[in-house]
Amino acid sequence: MEGASAKGILSHLSLLEVQVRSRTTQRQQPSRVKELQEKTAALRKQKEQLEAEIQTHRTLRAALDKRHNDDEEEEEDSENSDVLRLMARHTQLKDLLNAHRTIGGYDFTKTRQGKGLCVSIATAFEGVYLETFNLEFDVKPALTLVRHDVPPFIPLTLLIEQSRSQTDIWALLDPLSRQLSAFTARTRQLQLLQRLHETVEVMESNVLCSLIILMFKLPAEKNVVLCSLDYCDTSRSLPTRVSFQCDDKDLPDSPEWKKTLLETPLHTALSTMRSMGNIL
C-alpha cells in the first residue's frame, strides 16, 4: 500500500516539476525576444543619428567648397533646412574670418559695445609666425590708445605723434607693424644664429637687437675677428652697416663678407661664410 502510493506521489511530483520547468522556460523566451527587439530599435536609432550627422557634414562641406546647389537644398527635409542653411553660413563665415587672420593684415575686434577697438599685429619671418602684439583704443571722442603690450624700446609714442595729424588708423599701424616685424625678425635671426652656429660667439646685443657684435674664428691663423652689425634703421631686418676688427689688419675677403651680411639674413650669411671656408 505504502509503496504504491509513494510511487504515485513521486511520479506526481516529477510531473509537477516538469510542468514548472517548462513554464519557466516559456516565460524566458518572450523576454529574450523583447531584449532583441529593444537592441534592434537602439541600433536603428544609432544608425539614423549617424546618417543625419554624416549628411549634415556633407552639406557643410558643400557650402565650403561652394558646390552649393539650390536643387539639393529642396530635396532636404524642409523641417531642418533652415537650421542647415544657418550652419552652412556659419561654416563659411568661420572660414573667411580664419583666412583674414591668417593672411596677415590686422585683426580688429570691437569691444565694450563698440566703445573700444582692439587691434592685433602679427609678425612673421621666413614663413614662421612669431609674436603677436596687441593694442586697445577708445573710439570716442577720438581714437585714443588705452592699453598695449608693445615693448618699451619700440618708439610707440613717437609713432603716435607722427600719425596724429592723419585721420585713419593705418598711419599708426603700418609703421608700427614694420618696426615690430623687423624687431621680431632680428631677434629670430639671432636665435637661429645661436642654434646653428655654435662656433660664432655673440659678444653683445641690445634688447632692440639693433646692435650685434659677433666673434668669428678664422680657420688658418687661429685669429679672431670682431664683427659689428648696426641696424640703424629699426624698420628693417637687415643691417645698415657692417664693420670688422682684427689683429691681422689684412682681411682680404672682407668686402665680400660685408656684402653677404648686408644682403642676407644673419644665420644664412654665416652659413655661406662657413661653407666657403672663410670662418670656422
Binding site: 573667411l96 583666412a99 593672411i103
Partner: protein
C-alpha cells in the same frame, strides 16, 4: 511545440537584423571618424547644439532656441567679417582643406581668392602648425600667388607667373 518554433524563428530573424545593423553602424562610425578629422568642422557651442538637434538628440521644442542662438552668432560673425573687410581693405572668398592631422601636427591647405583695391588675386599655401614644448609653431610654405592686374611689375618678385 508550434509556439516554441515560431519564437525561435523570431529570435533568429532578430539576431540576423542585429548583425546587419551592427555592420552598418560600424561602417557609418568609420565615416564619422573620417569626417571628424576634417578640422573645418570642429563643431563647438551653438553649432554643436544645432548638430545634436539635427541628429534627433534633442526635441522639437528646442528648435526655436537652437535656431535663435545660432542666428545671433551668425549675425555677430557677419558684422565681424564686415569690420575686417573694411579695416583691411580686402574682400575675401576662401576655402580651407585639412590635409593631415595628428596629435602634434596639423597641415592645412588654404585657397584664398579676393579683391584688394582693384586687384583681383588668388593664392594658396600650406599652413603647418606643430606643437613643440608646449608652444605652437606655425609655418607657411608652398605659397602660390596669382594676380589679375594690368601692371604686374611691382609684384613680379613674389608672383607664381
Amino acid at each position: 511545440m508550434m509556439e516554441k518554433m515560431s519564437e525561435e524563428n523570431i529570435e533568429e530573424v532578430l539576431e540576423a537584423q542585429i548583425e546587419q545593423l551592427q555592420a552598418e553602424v560600424e561602417d557609418l562610425q568609420q565615416q564619422q571618424q573620417d569626417n571628424h578629422k576634417d578640422i573645418s568642422f570642429n563643431l563647438r557651442g551653438h553649432m554643436q547644439d544645432a548638430m545634436s538637434y539635427i541628429c534627433g538628440q534633442k526635441h522639437g521644442a528646442e528648435k526655436e532656441k537652437v535656431l535663435s542662438r545660432l542666428k545671433e552668432e551668425v549675425e555677430e560673425m557677419e558684422e565681424d567679417l564686415k569690420l575686417q573687410t573694411r579695416m583691411n581693405g580686402i574682400s575675401l572668398k576662401s576655402c580651407t582643406k585639412t590635409l593631415k592631422k595628428s596629435e602634434k601636427k596639423l597641415v592645412q591647405q588654404l585657397c584664398v581668392s579676393g579683391v584688394c583695391s582693384d586687384l583681383v588675386f588668388q593664392m594658396e599655401f600650406l599652413l603647418s602648425a606643430v606643437k613643440k614644448d608646449e608652444q605652437l609653431k606655425k609655418t607657411i610654405s608652398d605659397l602660390n600667388v596669382v594676380i589679375d592686374a594690368s601692371d604686374l611689375q611691382p609684384f613680379s618678385s613674389f608672383l607664381s607667373g
